[in-house]
């Protein structure tokens, strides 16, 4: 299979010695839907900005559709549809004028109304885009990205600002585009968005690739923990929590009011329930689920998906450095994190 996107040894250092990307290697095959995952500030947008020649790499090579974005940017972007991160629409232009601009720019013959219909904002086509909601702006720029049936769609956080229904519509469009033969490369910090459509994913953390695989394989490689939610008839005492944690096969216990969340081997469920009842606490209800993607994600990135790194470090650098402000001092090797203990778990 040939590569739609090929990244080798990509490093980007912003002024102020902010290391946004460090030695990133990545191959995206033609025709696949590729998810690019990572917490805010991991370097996803910087990577995408290099693919589009918005940002110049410090070192490393990048090839998209066999072309070098730095040298053949115009020819390349003729075949790419882009939904960038942190974009701003032209406030005084209507939705229709935006899409028409994309059509004129790509010199294609395309039905503007059909595109606006496809992203479901045709009824707002003649209103100024400055008055659109965040979700509508997102849809508008997606419509611009779809102009000219691009060979690759590069979508940076396409579901930002959309309600679950809107996010589903976007996923539907992504599937349709892939069915047409397009390669789709999209980034997200929300795993559920990615799991629903992606063939493969890459997890980026603090400027480094920490995993590339199918979601199934990633899940299998992490662990087989089940997560069990138990509704009690009273708020549990510390003794109850201790008793549950003492059960062999239990890795973590969290309490929230009268609800217990227990991470454990699937085989020890009854023993957990027994332990609770042995403490004289009644069990109202319980449910089990597989390792959530959130857990999976945290296992690889070892911190919460809420980003705590962005603001201060990047304040004195160029604007886009805010995407991935990692100073050398704070960089740590995320792959060394302890897979057995998600950082969220507390008692």
């Amino acid at each position: 299979m040939s590569s739609a996107i090929s990244i080798a040894g990509l490093t980007k250092r912003f002024p102020g010695d902010v290391l946004a990307l460090e030695d990133v290697d990545l191959e995206v095959h033609e025709g696949e839907i590729f998810g690019f995952l990572g917490p805010n500030g991991a370097g996803k947008s910087t990577t995408i900005n290099v693919l589009l020649d918005f940002v110049r790499p410090t070192s490393g090579t990048v090839s998209v559709l066999g072309m070098n974005p730095q040298k053949e940017g115009v020819a390349l972007r003729q075949r790419v549809g882009v939904l960038p991160d942190g974009f701003h629409v032209y406030d005084r232009l209507t939705g229709r004028q935006h899409v028409q601009f994309a059509v004129d720019s790509k010199r294609v013959d395309e039905d503007v109304d059909a595109l606006l219909e496809r992203v479901d904002i045709l009824d707002a086509a003649d209103r100024k885009a400055g008055g659109y909601s965040k979700g509508m702006k997102q849809r508008l720029v997606l419509a611009m990205a779809l102009v000219g049936d691009p060979d690759i769609l590069i979508l940076d956080e396409p579901t930002t600002g959309l309600d679950p229904n809107g996010a589903r519509e976007i996923r539907q469009i992504i599937r349709e585009e892939a069915a047409r033969g397009a390669t789709v490369f999209f980034s997200s910090h929300i795993l559920e968005q990615v799991e629903a459509v992606c063939d493969r994913v890459c997890i980026l953390d603090e400027g480094r690739v920490v995993a590339i695989d199918t979601i199934e394989n990633l899940r299998d490689s992490v662990d087989a923990d089940a997560r069990m939610t138990v509704e009690l008839d009273a708020v549990p005492t510390p003794e109850t929590l201790d008793a549950v944690e003492a059960v062999a096969g239990v890795t973590a216990v969290t309490a929230s009011d009268s609800t217990l969340t227990v991470a454990c081997d699937p085989g020890v469920k009854t023993r957990v329930l027994d332990a609770i009842e042995a403490q004289g606490v009644g069990v109202r209800d319980f449910a089990t689920e597989r390792t959530s993607l959130e857990d999976l994600f945290m296992t690889y990135t070892n911190h919460d998906t809420d980003d705590e790194l962005t603001a201060d470090d990047a304040a004195d650098t160029d604007r886009d450095a805010a995407d991935a402000p990692i100073t050398d001092a704070t960089t740590e090797d995320a792959t060394e994190s302890d897979a057995a203990e998600p950082s969220e778990v507390s008692r």
């Binding site: 589009l52 110049r56 390349l76 972007r77 882009v82 005084r92 601009f101 004129d104 604007r319 886009d320």
Partner: protein
């Protein structure tokens, strides 16, 4: 094609701006006022001013239009590129198959077109007034004068777009644009005089006639002076744009066109060089 698409988009964008229509209204009033003022004082009214009367009609218009056009160009163009980088709409623009060169050139044409509206409308209406107040105005001369004014607007817009393309934020663009305006329009003659003062051994020659030739070259180098020279070159006016008794080529009135071309091209080329290397 790419340039056209950007210029058209930019023009559409500007057309929706209230500021542009306000500017157009102001320019119409301004042009009308200038024509009236000339007619009033030139025609030997109560407050007839011999100095004003000595100036030709077009010199009079050009001298005042220079300031108005330069301010307008600053307002219209200083955000052209930096504003898009600041807000992030540059990512929509450059996510499409446009080169950065096309962006810069498209911006110059889009904003120049935006500038041309108030200039053409203002002087168009003023022509009617001039005809009514002054009796006979040579239409060809008038058209040439307006044409040169549009050219001047183009050169100034190009300079402002260049400034805009050389920085990454709107605030830096506005500071730089305003600084350039102050230096070129307000303090330039002082700079030139200062140069003479230094070159002359920290003393000024007794009369202006004794100033060195290059002083007049320096003074005529700035865009507004170049514009006035160019106007003098095309309009069949009695007033002189050149310096009597000098054969320096850069003091010929037509050399104003050369300076305008320099202002339109050189800053833009330098700014493009910087913009093309920049991270958005």
């Amino acid at each position: 094609m790419s340039v056209t698409a950007i210029a058209r988009k930019d023009f559409q964008d500007a057309r929706g701006s209230r500021a542009l229509w306000l500017l157009t209204a102001l320019f119409v009033l301004f042009a009308a006022f200038m024509v009236w003022a000339f007619a009033e004082f030139e025609a030997g009214g109560v407050g007839a001013d011999p100095d004003l009367a000595a100036l030709g009609f077009f010199d009079f218009l050009a001298a005042s239009a220079a300031l108005f056009v330069s301010i307008t160009a600053l307002v219209v163009a200083y955000k052209a590129v930096a504003g898009e980088r600041d807000t992030g709409s540059a990512k929509l623009l450059l996510g499409l198959p446009h080169s950065r060169r096309d962006v810069v050139i498209g911006k110059v044409f889009g904003r120049s077109l935006t500038m041309a509206i108030p200039v053409l409308l203002g002087f168009g209406l003023a022509f009617g007034l001039a005809f009514w107040l002054l009796g006979a105005v040579n239409l060809v001369d008038y058209a040439l004068f307006v044409g040169v004014t549009v050219l001047f607007a183009f050169a100034y817009v190009s300079l402002m777009v260049a400034i805009s393309a050389s920085v990454s934020t709107t605030s830096r663009a506005s500071a730089l644009a305003f600084g350039a305006f102050v230096v070129l329009e307000l303090v330039w003659s002082l700079v030139a005089t200062g140069a003479v003062y230094v070159a002359n051994g920290f003393a000024l020659p007794a009369t202006v006639a004794q100033y060195p030739e290059w002083y007049f070259g320096l003074v005529s180098f700035v865009p507004s002076a170049a514009y006035q020279s160019a106007v003098a070159a095309v309009v069949d006016a009695t007033s002189s744009g050149g310096l009597a008794g000098s054969d320096a080529i850069y003091l010929e009135p037509w050399f104003g066109f050369v300076w305008l071309a320099v202002w339109a091209i050189v800053p833009l080329a330098l700014a493009y060089g910087k913009f093309t290397q920049a991270d958005l």
